[in-house]
Assembly symmetry: C2
């Protein structure tokens, strides 16, 4: 008998019928002889409606009061899911984040989980009940209700799975969502993208940071730290999804597992600036203070002068231009160039660590198709190319093709089958 943490998102609990389907899913696991802890998000558009309501009361509500308000969304969901389970004859008990022992750091609106005191959960499981826990929230040491910010419910699920050591007992954390699993590329852009049976935390993290919205990077990081196997699967279909797990040696057999596209980027370049220590700090401090997320940074130097380029979302360009100009004024020399209409193609894979020639294969393929590459950035398991937006979708298809990603899903499926044997 294993323990599973099952997390259902807002769409999955959007109305009484969907709630009934979630309850049936929980019952199924129980009927297999397993223990289940359920984590749920607020129903459908509840969170948006509460934010709108708050906006009608105050233009600038405090984070604390927003958290008090938002936390009710999940509380409604857990009560309803527990009722639906009891209706199916499954003993259940709803718990707020605080009741479930989720201790947070007190940062309203963006709290971190500092500890999960699993006593109550263990107690309810021992009594044969299904604890149904509010995602997205916890209680600070001062007894205040905190919400976790974006990706919070996934993080709650992974944290509870870590506290209950579900991985050690043959269970896992199941994230039920509205997609089948993790694909080698966005199937809307690459029709022959294939579903991965397994992916490593590191790979998932890179893909999530590149915009794959299957799971929030925060929850993946949490899973990696505590070694929680995470199964991402469709809430309305029985098929296996994608298992996110620790890297295994055979995973390195596959060089690339996914290709991603970030559209609508702009590039900001500060050219011919003095190659002094401190210039970078001054620049990115100014950009951060303007509230802008920087994508990739590239720097080149030529003796005493240097050139720094970085990419940002197209929509942030106007603000960046102001911040960068002010820095140039302070530096006293150099010129500012802004390019628009760019995109970024990336390929990700643990196998890159042990295979050489991955980058060159990509560059050669793009070159053969006549697509110019403006910038290249790499990490241990990722290669990104900045190119013209007009070439982006074609370049994604080429990258997907050159690394045989349409067949990689199957290959990882064989690995998964082998791992299960």
């Amino acid at each position: 008998m294993a323990t599973f943490v099952q997390k259902f998102g807002g769409t999955s609990v959007g109305d009484p019928q969907r709630i009934a389907r979630c309850a049936a899913r929980v019952k199924q696991r129980r009927d297999e002889g397993h223990s289940v802890v359920v984590v749920v998000s607020a129903m459908g558009h509840t969170t948006d409606e509460l934010i709108e309501l708050a906006g009608r009361v105050s233009e600038k509500p405090s984070r604390r009061e927003l958290d008090m308000l938002m936390a009710t969304g999940e509380q409604v969901s857990v009560a309803l899911v527990a009722m639906a389970l009891e209706k199916l004859g499954v003993p259940a008990i709803s718990l707020t984040g605080g009741q479930a022992g989720i201790l947070t750091d007190g940062a309203f609106g963006r709290a971190r989980i500092i500890r999960v005191v699993g006593d109550r959960l263990e107690q309810e499981l021992a009594a044969g009940r299904v604890p149904v826990v509010c995602g997205f929230q916890g209680l600070s040491l001062e007894g205040e209700i905190n919400t976790l910010g974006r990706g919070g419910s996934d993080t709650t699920a992974v944290a509870l799975a870590a506290a209950l050591r579900v991985g050690e007992k043959g269970g896992c954390c199941e994230i039920f969502t509205d997609v089948d699993g993790v694909y080698t590329a966005d199937p809307r852009l690459v029709p022959n993208a294939s579903k991965l049976a397994r992916i490593s935390y590191e790979e998932m993290l890179e893909l999530a940071l590149l915009g794959a919205q299957v799971m929030h990077p925060r929850a993946v990081l949490f899973g990696e730290r505590y070694g929680v196997p995470i199964h991402v699967r469709h809430s309305q279909r029985p098929d296996e999804g994608t298992m996110i797990c620790r890297e295994t040696p055979e995973m390195e057999d596959v060089m690339v597992v996914g290709a991603a596209l970030k559209p609508d980027l702009g590039r900001v370049s500060l050219r011919r600036i003095p190659n002094n220590p401190g210039v970078q700090g001054m620049l990115f401090d100014a950009v951060a203070k303007a509230g802008i997320m920087v994508d990739d940074i590239m720097q080149t130097e030529f003796g005493e002068i240097a050139s720094i380029s970085f990419t940002v979302d197209h929509g942030d360009l106007a603000d960046v231009k102001i911040a960068a100009s002010q820095v140039l004024d302070r530096v006293g020399t150099g010129e500012l160039a802004i390019e628009i209409g760019l995109a970024k193609i990336s390929v990700v894979g643990t196998g890159m660590k042990s295979h050489s020639g991955v980058a060159s294969r990509m560059f050669v393929a793009l070159g053969a198709a006549g697509i110019p590459i403006h910038n290249i950035t790499t990490s241990e398991i990722k290669i990104s190319c900045i190119l013209g937006k007009e070439h982006a979708q074609k370049a994604l298809a080429i990258a997907h093709e050159v690394f045989g990603l349409d067949k990689i899903g199957a290959s990882r499926t064989e690995q998964a089958a082998a791992a299960a044997r």
Copy 2:
């Protein structure tokens, strides 16, 4: 500087505009130099909507899960009221029942408050903040969310006022509602009814039990036990309402303070039954087990035989008939009579204790109007007459008239002014 507990009902916080008006009301007290604790109910129809939602998930949700669900209604309200206060520049902090230190007995759906640990409230008040507390709920010693059942928010307000000893410091518990205060009779039935400036707990309790919906009897009882002055007043008007307080000697100068009408009663009579001990117990046990609330009970005896009559709501007659018939079968003798189309007129007043002739004055007046009285019941401060429904409204007007209730409001107002001097 006094402390006031201000309670706003569901209608008063029904939308952002009304919430803003409540906040202005709180600010006004603060501007006078007082401390304020706010208690609020769920917005408008929220509670009904949540019950409806639960009904769509399960026909028979558990009381525990219903409490988990219902408690969110007040949590939404407190967050919004705190936001509205902060917008007006009044430092505020919303608190769940549990955070405010309201400990309950664990009975889901109908919990009693066993203690209020006022530390957090004192602390927030000392810091110059307005605690905005969820009405209708508390936390059990096991950490479970309990709701208090009907009249719960009024009870919360009175309990917090008791814990903070607001009465000893010149403050009181203000119940803001959609009526002006307590009237000598329902103004919809008796147009010249007058508003009472003061009423004793005992009188208020009798009137509440007779159907005056201004305040729930439970909250009045709580106020009486801890001597909390309760000011019932209109949420949208500045006028003073009615102060519910301990009886003072001069209150007895007024014989009757209110007249009430309970319409649509039926009378059940068991006639010619053996005058044995135990028959009454058997009868009312059967009625209680059928879930029926008995209004008044009258018994007469003639040597070895007796007759028991009691009144119930018209709608309960069918069920009562079945229960009473079964009792008669077990007793083996006697006959059952059911009368419909009855009503009850009552007059209430602390002054009855020290004035004789109150009852006779009422009977004489009703007799002079040709209204037959079917039954009479009395308590220390109440006289009730059962009569034909067709005479009810006229009888109410006569009772109101004969005790000069249209002028009593003014008299109690003078008393209030005298008490304030």
